[in-house]
Point group: C2
Amino acid sequence: SARQKLAEALSSQYGLNVFVAGLLLLLAWAVHASRVAKSDLLCFLTALMLLQLLWMLWYVRRSAAQRRLIRPKDTHAGARWLRGSITLFAVITIILGCLKIGYFVGYSACLSATEGVFPVAHAVHTLVQVYFLWGHAKDVIQSFKTLERFGVFHSVFTNLLLWTNSVLNESKHQLNEHKERLMTLGFGNITTELDDHTPPCNCSSPTLCSAISHGIYYLYPFNIEYQILASTMLYVLWKNIGRKVDSPQHEKIQVKLHGVTVGSALGLTVLAATIGVVVVYLVQIGRSKTRSESALTMFYLYAIALLLLMAAAGLMGTLLYRLDEQSLDESKNPARKLDMDLLVGTASGSWFLSWGSILAILCAESRPSYTWYNLPYSILVIAEKYIQNLFIIESTHREPELSEDIRTLRVVTVCNGCATPLAASYLKGGAGGVASLGSEVPPANCGSMCLRGGGGGGKEEGTGRPRFLQGDAKRRILRNIAAFLFLCNISLWIPPAFGCRPEYDNGLEEIVFGFEPWIIAVNLAMPFSIFYRMHAAASLFEVYCKI
Amino acid sequence: SARQKLAEALSSQYGLNVFVAGLLLLLAWAVHASRVAKSDLLCFLTALMLLQLLWMLWYVRRSAAQRRLIRPKDTHAGARWLRGSITLFAVITIILGCLKIGYFVGYSACLSATEGVFPVAHAVHTLVQVYFLWGHAKDVIQSFKTLERFGVFHSVFTNLLLWTNSVLNESKHQLNEHKERLMTLGFGNITTELDDHTPPCNCSSPTLCSAISHGIYYLYPFNIEYQILASTMLYVLWKNIGRKVDSPQHEKIQVKLHGVTVGSALGLTVLAATIGVVVVYLVQIGRSKTRSESALTMFYLYAIALLLLMAAAGLMGTLLYRLDEQSLDESKNPARKLDMDLLVGTASGSWFLSWGSILAILCAESRPSYTWYNLPYSILVIAEKYIQNLFIIESTHREPELSEDIRTLRVVTVCNGCATPLAASYLKGGAGGVASLGSEVPPANCGSMCLRGGGGGGKEEGTGRPRFLQGDAKRRILRNIAAFLFLCNISLWIPPAFGCRPEYDNGLEEIVFGFEPWIIAVNLAMPFSIFYRMHAAASLFEVYCKI
């Protein structure tokens, strides 16, 4: 209706303004604008969180009061595994909050009170928000839309701002570590001032404080994932407001673990190997010039091998899908559309960095031998994401396949149904006609068998296809590929999230582009690149459950 | 089908990679990366343009060969006035190309050959592209989709890169002017090196060269608009590939000029006044400290008055729409959706700058009196865009209203039709039922009258509404508002496009955020802010024609 369009525009513009104002505060803090202190920023964030808390409590209360009403649900939104993983990340975020409170107590002599209030507010906010998402992520809100829209969009952008804040903190930390390494290596001339390193007073118990500040930086990556996950779930909730839900199908996603030994064994090996490589890298880098170079070489060689494997697996999966022209699941689905846009959008972040590396290698004046590995690495990063996105998009748009025996049953049903008048539209309309029967039959298979049974001269598709690729065998291969890629993506999330960033340590790009511009570019693009890995893993998990 | 989803993902990822690689080259040039010269960038852009040229020629040839086939068209895409304005901008772009060739000839001693090849290639590209858009902007491509998708997306991102390139050139020019002003005012300490100012040799005829380089910078804003307009039209073409067009309605948009004397007179006054203010501003600014301050004060006061007027007009328009609950035009329409997203998205650019100004005023240590005008100005910029977007979104989602006599005719037709079986669904389904009748009747009006005639107890809406606001009178007011806002937006496009940028000259933000960060922020956000004005004007023109 007319009101709805206006409410949508009103709330999205409000949300954007909140976000932009927050970004400005973050920018002001990052560039050390005069008279903008960290406490101003934290006050602003705390106020946003409190506002969101109030709204969530109001919403939960109101929907509890209306429990008798039947409310439509979007079965695609807020899948159980998604809520499970957000809970896991939320628990780590709360632990992080406790550590921050401990840190504040240690340095309480010189930190402003807001640095103590903020983690407390954040922990409460996290608790309530996870409760809210468990209960209401699937809601399709149909009444009082304006206020709900404002609340949901406020929540989306509050989480995005908290994400940006975490990312900025993490970037500053990474940059400080990088500068320390450069100083150790004797490159003190580039720039040596450390930024927000430690508060300007002594901790009441120094060993505890240093342990806490180490702990904080190992937990940050999980907090970052939590914030972005929460905002995507809230965004889907926003998109669903006032939507007409077509059919309340109950898709039960179940994790089938049999028959994926190869894929998961390979994947777990990769996971273990990656953790090993990252540990060696972090120990070696910055100790001395030769040890840094050997660490970089090791990382590049390992990553090249892994990316090759992943690209091959993704390509094989896509080709397997190409073999049969099954119709697509065309139903409207905001959750899926957002997932696909995020995959392609966030991949751009890492493409940006990779093209930067390629350009730097082509333009560099002197190229030490280890920098040459950077070229195939960067090209493979681009190609692997390209192929993997194709595989995921192809998979998520397929209708879930049924196992062989159920399919036979269905085919019999439909063939019997050919005698009824409905069959006319089915034979004419193809896929569309079958959908109108309301069953979940994969149309292509049914079509050919039905026609064959009825003696029709339909196209005999699939005759040239090798027998072993059909049905369960094909499905098992695809499931292995999905499991392997899932574990690989989790593996590749680890290095950049925990400080193994060859884009910093490589040195080549910094010389070509200059230290400042390249560091800014990395700090802007890296969060998206890290998010891509986690998001691709989530999408692959969904693909795996569906196959 | 399955192939389509894959082709979409393939082409969008290809396009993003081209764009990201181009951005990297631009960044490398902007930060003076070692061994990346301007000629590398121009080579890359020329190659992209040639590739697009080849594709366009192939497409035009192929569709000429298939002229007998009936091809569906999207009547919403590529409206005539849109093609008209793109032609106007293209002509100016070609003139700009000629000036650049002249500039190259003048400085040919020290410029590389690519600087001469690029404008020639660009002029040819512009000519062919405008021809292509005239003939094919409305196409809904249904065959050979993969190649077409690649071609169209390549074109979209080629134009976006050309846009970015122009924007970068323009920003450098503005920054140089700003630095020159600062030097005149004695602030030589901030930074004094001019960037890419003039080639390192003498022109063969100095007066001609200086005239040309002045001319170039007055024509740049039009070139920038041309590029972005072309990419949006091509993007709509891409979105339309493989789409099923619902109904080939022939919407004839006609410009009705009677009854808008007040709105257009006010608007033209504003346009004239703005040009006057900009000229005075450009003459005064940077001459001396007091003259700069008086120029800034004048600009702020004028802008505050104008923005207040515009916000009031927008608010009045939105409220007038609120008065009747007419149903919305819900048909799928990629062109419109893109327009709305662009409006809200590009407004964010100027919101970012405005929040920056607000923050700067709040945090500044000393505030000269003229900077206080910046606060209401910034708040009004935010509010005015907020309201104007609401007005445009509200308007474009209305079905076109019919004039009083046609409407009466239609009502009679439908009321007679109530006797037919179709009426049952109409009475039940409300708006949806009417749409299925296939006519363009505004459902709310028809509904109440029809029910009244049939003796039904329907809601008697509109009884409390003053009579003079109905029908033609209301329409005339709305049309006046649209005309006024259209001219105001064109007026407000002029100051930032032609170098009247108080964000630079004001000095306050530069002190709070630091010179470099603020200049980078302005240079990133300003292009979107400028684009917003032109785009809002285009949308308002469409609104005006529809009312």
